[in-house]
């Protein structure tokens, strides 16, 4: 079941450094939300707070609230491991596990977590996930081969299959196409449009055409100055952001008149 996300006055710190200040966003279920903005503005950082991945970096912490269907991800007793099972993530660089076959990569979420499942059930999960990631036809004859032997675009789709195999409610994508050629990018974008019917998707992208093509709503982050925390400047329907933004900084950025 796709869930909604409500971020309320979120501050993100790395040690004593305030990386993002006062971000508030409401993300509807079964929608695609794009985070855009210049490098270092904190969009990836905010994305990572949505499944508590920022804590993996030493010193990473937040203040404020992130609600998943009304439940605070940072509430007392919340286990980040359980959060990450509900909110999946795809990274910029495709990174299938090098020691595993394509098959094992898809079910890595179960295998690594030590879940015991019947072979038939696993076969079903693999087929469903690979079909969901539009990779099934290309790899169904070589499921036993290493995942690292696939092309870059195929590896990224394998990573998406791996993420959706554990049936998360939300899928976070951190610049999933930035290392891919236009054809692989198109394949992923098509995939995102299909996945929208089952998942809430949040995607960070540097490609503004991509944000305009695939997202329903867009959040523009900006860095007011060197050494200052990144801020959420504007968050609105994608059509509005790209045609008639209400803030000057947004307009400058999307029209390339930045800095």
């Amino acid at each position: 079941m796709a869930k909604r996300i409500d971020v309320d006055d979120l501050n993100v710190y790395y040690g004593n450094f305030l990386a993002v200040e006062g971000a508030s966003i409401n993300i509807a279920p079964l929608s695609v939300t794009a985070f855009i903005g210049p490098s270092g503005c904190g969009k990836s950082t905010v994305l990572r707070t949505l499944n508590r991945m920022h804590e993996v970096i030493p010193g990473g912490r937040v203040s404020g609230k992130v609600l998943l269907d009304g439940e605070d991800l940072y509430g007392p007793g919340v286990d980040p491991v359980n959060v990450r099972r509900t909110v999946g993530m795809v990274f910029q660089k495709a990174n299938p596990f090098p020691t595993m076959s394509i098959y094992d990569n898809v079910i890595a979420g179960y295998k690594l977590a030590g879940a015991r499942k019947h072979k038939n059930e696993l076969d079903e999960i693999v087929e469903r996930s690979l079909k969901g990631a539009n990779l099934w036809e290309e790899v169904k004859h070589r499921l036993g081969r290493p995942g690292a032997g696939l092309s870059g675009g195929q590896q990224q789709r394998l990573c998406i299959a791996r993420a959706i195999a554990v049936e998360p409610s939300v899928l976070l994508m951190d610049e999933p196409c930035s290392a891919l050629d236009p054809i692989s990018t198109l394949a992923i974008e098509d995939l995102i449009s299909e996945l929208k019917s089952s998942y809430t998707i949040v995607i960070v992208t540097h490609n503004m055409q991509q944000a305009a093509r695939i997202s329903d709503r867009t959040a523009f982050f900006n860095l007011p100055g060197v050494g200052q925390p990144g801020k959420l400047v504007e968050y609105d329907d994608t059509a509005k952001i790209f045609s008639n933004p209400s803030k000057k900084a947004t307009e400058d950025y999307i029209s390339g008149r930045f800095g």
Binding site: N51, M53, V56, P58, V81, N82, V83, R84, R85, T86, G88, M89, F91, K93, N95, F97, P98, T99, A108, G109, K111, L112, A113, G114, R145, P146, A148, G149, C159, R162, A163, V166
Partner: protein, 372 residues
Amino acid sequence: MSDTGRSSTPTVDAPDPLTGRRRPVTVSALVGARLPSWAPYAAGAAAVGVALILKAVFGWEGWGTSFWTAVLVFVIGFTVWSFAVEGRRRAKDRFASTLIYASFVAAVVPLVLILFYIGVKGFSVFSADFFTKSMNGITSRQEGGGLYHALIGTLELVAIASIIALPIGIFTAIYLVEYGRGKFARAVTFFVDVMIGVPSIVAGLFVYTFLLLGFGLRPFGFAGALALAILMIPVSVRASEEMLKLVPRELRESSYALGVPKWRTILKVVLPTAMSGLITSSLLAIARITGETAPLILLVGYTARVNYDPLQGDMATLPMMVWDQLGKRAGTTSSDLTEARAWGAALTLVLLVLILNVGARLLARLFQPKAR
């Protein structure tokens, strides 16, 4: 071209495309003058020739002076020649290349000589008996005998030391890479660095004081294995740490992002990915202690008999057998026969490390992540 200090456009004789007759043709500015490919060999031959002439003229004895003269003449002569023809930048390149090749040769030649010498000296005593008999009852004037007792001792001690040290080393490395933050981790790293430099006799002395003197015990195998383990741990920590650091952070992150707990990520992602490296690092640690002698003198002693029990009585080891057969141990004498057996034991020691090395490499390849 300013580098070479020449301003005139270089020309070269080449066939004219229309007439086929050779005539001077202007060469592109991209082409610089170069020494012919046989130049280094010619320079080398000339240097040797100069050295030989000087040897004859001055009547140098031996070959040392001539050798170093040849080297010096080659380095200086070849660089000057290159400078005259090819210019400053090329000459510097030739000079640096010469030094690098020379260093390589200087590093490899002694190694090859040692292996070759041990091989020639040691192989003559190799026989089935040599590997299956002990030195029990064999005097220094007697033929026969073997290193079975010492081989057993070395294998047992190395195995015990590895069982103690490798898990500690690898777990410490996991702590340092995956969990270690702040002062405690820095302290651990510092002490590991210090321990790497601890002389082996000090480790032996430590065990001797606490175990043998402390409990009033006679030398026995396990005490030696303990000292070897102490020497092994820091090497293992350091090498394993480097291997674990090679596992990309992205792999850990994608495992966390799938909702996999940290300990399972380490167990199922980090360790398998680093497995081939960890095998290599463990082998480094084993190779470090296999030939260790000093602590064994104190802790294990030596016996000519076969002793399988590491908990009771003196044990023989290969390095101690070399020491014994050369007549260096108190109360022993040497002869041509014992000297040959010492070389045989030394060669066996080298082969043992070699076999471990090759075996570990095969094992590591088996665990290496494959692309297709």
